[in-house]
Amino acid sequence: MNDFLTNAIALAPLLIICATIVAVIGTIAVGRHHFTAATITVVGLNAALISLLGVLQVTPLEVTPLFIIDNYSVLFGAIVLVASLACSTLAHAYLETLPDRREEFYVLLLCSAGGALALIAARHMASLFIGLELLSVPLYGMVAYTYRDRISLEAGLKYMVLSGAASAFLLFGMALLYAASGTLVFAELAEAATDGVGSTWMLAGVGMMVVALAFKLSLVPFHLWTPDVYEGAPGPVSAFLATVSKVAVFALLARFFSLAPPADDGWLLTLIGVIALASMLIGNLLALRQNNIKRLLGYSSIAHLGYLLTAVVAGGELGIETVGVYLATYVATTLGAFGVVTLVSSPYSGTDAGALHHYRGLFWRRPYLAAVLTVMMLSLAGIPMTAGFIGKFYALAVGVQSGLWWLVGGIVIGSGIGLYYYLRVMIILYLVEPGQSRRDAVSGWGQQSGGIMVLLLSAAVILFGIYPQPLIALVDAAVMNGG
């Protein structure tokens, strides 16, 4: 009984999410009401977030062979839940005028968030796969949610087909690992690897898994879907895709590599390093000529995950810390940026306001909204006084500590290139030129929950930029436990 109780506490966030899904489906069955569905979702996510405090009492704990609940998973679980909350507030404002069924969106969002929680706590290939699919499959629906809009549907299909191919790679990789070692638990894989059992097959397996995960993280050369999907997906979904899905997969990747370090002469890490370098450079270069802010943010996310991959290549304690700090700052920043884009496009009225000229002179019409976007752009560019700088500082620090000079050089060059387009977006907000078509947030957006949310995010970005110590302490406490 006692065991059962602690296990239940440890899985409480996941269970609460599942219960919320059922509750939302139930209310939809009784009667469609957008506000009710959104409220239940937000309450459920908040309850899951609060339950994390209870989870901290029982960590670290292995729950079945599938999950390990440790402080690491609690930290990333919290990030995922906060990001999901932000996305659902954005979605509520966005979907208000959608001439279609709106309530199912929250079911999909909750399913995906649940998948992310499972993925973060995975210590076994089976939970990895289930978590990843539970995260991805609802996303196909979410991306294509405004399917009457052609590019949304196209993005959804594109994401589904390519994601399916990536999943196939993942399964094949797992099968190879199992064939070579006879186990699916990460830690036991590491033992098998050190014993040198069928090492070629194991390497091939890990390599195929890396391909699949790199696809989910949209790293070069598996990045081609990113800009199209980011552009086509409705604003809140792009935000979700760029934050929740990336955080969960990256947390898993970091855990996998620290529990089961590839036991070889280092070529796999070199390969990941090459992927990182290519992502930094190509992501930034392709972003230069973009005139659509959602595509631009898509390319910028490719570059940012490239920077972050430095931490995985470097590994070690500082590497894990970097992953935590960088992802936290990245999520806050990206949510803020997509939040502003969504608010400008809300409520739904056809394709999102993605083109840069929609934002021309935003500062003189909506000063706070533009100020938020400015802060987010500066943070993405990694300028001091914003959280993004702390993230970049960590990425550089971990690179310098491990002597990965070529990756450090990549970060420096990438940031230099990146500045150009971040500044371009930023300055457009302050220009006034008459005769341009304008999209505007509905007036009084600051009163809406979405507006408050982006203001809070920008406050957090500035606060952590100036005084990052609490964030660092939090991440430091989030130790990963062996499984």
């Binding site: 500066l378 300028i383 001091p384 310098v400 420096v412 940031s415 500044l423 302050y430 005084y467 110590q469």
Partner: protein, 510 residues
């Protein structure tokens, strides 16, 4: 604590300017707030100047010679602290910043007519960032302010700048400025991290503190590479010639206040960085590098002068002449003798005054005839009241006429460097001839020649006249009694010299 006030007052004042503007206050309010803010900074720094004792004798190197210090833990994880400290060098720079900041506010009184509150927010935040650079002795904090001040400068150029010729807009100038300085800044961050992790490897503790890191023993090649990271960041800002591409554009496109800040203060942060960080942190490597730096300085003197001669835009001409003047500064810094270092200080102060004066004058001309193209000027002497007279003085100062501060600076630099590097000095001295050429060309093309019209363009009003007079008095003051400045910087420069010279003499004795 007073250091914190110095640092935070501009930031607070900037926010006030912005907030009071957006509440539909009368448009003059932000200007007065900004002026008051700069006034407080200036008064505080003058008070520090008058009450502090900056001529601490002896005790070079071992004990810190900070006159005032302030320290708070900031990011414990990496041993980063909010550590401010003041010595003679930083005090001179901060007083200069306060003065030029006030000047920048006054000279944009009529030039800037839209978005006044936001303009002053940016202007004051630049000042705040610069003061932070001059006060920080924690490397992380230093870098923090070093990068932070770029953002408001970017806005200043991009939003209130003048559009130049086609394909040379204010925005592209601003972007160029930002990318040059930010990317080179990241190199410095990498160097800082390299130094910190080397220190961590030796002692097992993280620290970014300047005083501690200065003691880190480094082996040759590593020190050289790390030093280069710092040098490149500072060389872009100074600017040293192959890295100067952003400067003429940024100056030409910036509003007057922006040019005054750029030439008067921002360029000086680079020289300050070399004196404070690049040399004391890596003395051996810097000594090794000195011939290269001096060659670059020499090249800069000539290249800047030739470039200045070829310009048709008044502000570009002045900007290019800055490149030439900063060549002298670079030579002075890397020659390492106390005399030359003192000359560097005098040169920086004097150049700040003369360049600010010239930029303000070109701003005033622009307000009257709406062009900066020298081909459309000519014969302005006599049509603008006292303005051409003042211009003559600042042009004379710029070419290093005795009696002006610039003469003291160049003389001390050349005199101080002669003993160790006679040939460098000989070649550099000929650069002064070129300075005379472009300065006189400027004077001739703008103020003499056949006038395009005979009508008066309006003389100087009280605001303009008092600004010019004040700058003129200060230029002459530094020229005639430089000791007032040199006394304050003496200890700091002796210390730099001590750090720089110690390894050189140690390596030359065996």
């Amino acid at each position: 604590m007073i250091l914190c006030w110095l640092l935070f007052i501009p930031f607070i004042g900037g926010l006030l300017c912005w907030q009071l503007e957006s509440r539909h206050a009368p448009s003059q309010v932000p200007r007065w707030i900004a002026l008051a803010t700069m006034g407080i900074v200036l008064v505080l720094s003058l008070w520090l100047w008058l009450t502090g004792d900056y001529s601490l004798p002896g005790a070079v190197g071992d004990s810190p010679s900070w006159t005032r210090e302030f320290e708070l833990p900031w990011i414990d994880r990496f041993g980063i602290s909010f550590h401010l400290a003041l010595d003679g060098l930083s005090l001179i720079m901060i007083t200069l910043t306060g003065f030029l900041g006030a000047l920048a506010v006054i000279c944009s009184w009529q030039e800037i007519t839209n978005r006044i509150g936001f303009f002053h927010l940016n202007l004051l935040w630049i000042i705040g960032g610069v003061i932070g650079v001059f006060l920080a002795v924690d490397l992380f904090l230093f870098f923090f302010f070093w990068e932070m001040m770029l953002v408001p400068m970017y806005f200043l150029i991009a939003l209130w700048g003048h559009s130049g010729s086609k394909g040379n807009t204010r925005i592209s100038a601003a972007v160029k400025f930002f990318i040059y300085t930010q990317a080179s800044g990241l190199l410095m961050l990498v160097s800082i991290l390299g130094l910190v992790f080397t220190h961590y490897g030796q002692t097992g503790t993280f620290t970014f503190d300047y005083m501690v890191l200065r003691e880190t023993p480094l082996d040759g090649p590593l020190a050289y590479v790390l030093m280069l990271g710092f040098f490149i960041a500072f060389a872009v800002k100074l600017p040293v010639v192959p890295l100067h591409g952003w400067l003429p554009d940024a100056h030409a496109q910036a509003p007057t206040a922006g040019s005054v800040d750029l030439a008067g203060i921002l360029l000086k942060t680079a020289a300050y960085g070399m004196l404070r960080f690049a040399i004391p942190l890596f003395p051996e490597a810097s000594a090794q590098f000195a011939p290269v730096a001096m060659a670059l300085g020499l090249f800069g003197i000539y290249y800047g002068a030739v470039l200045a001669y070829a310009q048709t835009d008044v502000k570009r001409l002045i900007a290019c002449s800055s490149i030439s003047h900063m060549g002298f500064v670079l030579i002075g810094i890397y020659s390492g003798s106390v005399l030359a270092l003192q000359g560097v200080i005098a040169q920086m102060v004097a150049h700040a005054f003369s360049a600010a004066g010239l930029f303000i004058i070109s701003g005033q001309i622009y307000e009257r005839i709406h062009t900066r193209n020298m081909r459309e000027m000519g014969g302005l002497f006599g049509r603008m009241g006292a303005l051409p007279g003042f211009a003559l003085v600042f042009v004379m100062a710029s070419l290093g006429m005795p009696g002006t501060g610039n003469f003291i600076g160049e003389f001390l630099i050349l005199f101080g460097a002669y003993q160790a590097f006679p040939w460098v000095v000989v070649i550099a001295s000929f650069g002064l001839v070129l300075a005379a050429v472009y300065s006189l060309v400027l004077m001739h093309r703008v103020y003499w020649g056949t006038p395009t019209a005979e009508t008066s363009l309006g003389g100087l009003d009280f605001r303009e006249y008092s600004m010019m007079l004040l700058l003129l008095v200060l230029t002459l003051l530094v020229g005639l009694y430089p000791q007032s400045v040199l006394d304050v910087s003496q200890t700091a420069m002796t210390e730099v010299n001590h750090w720089f010279a110690a390894p050189v003499s140690a390596s030359s004795t065996p």
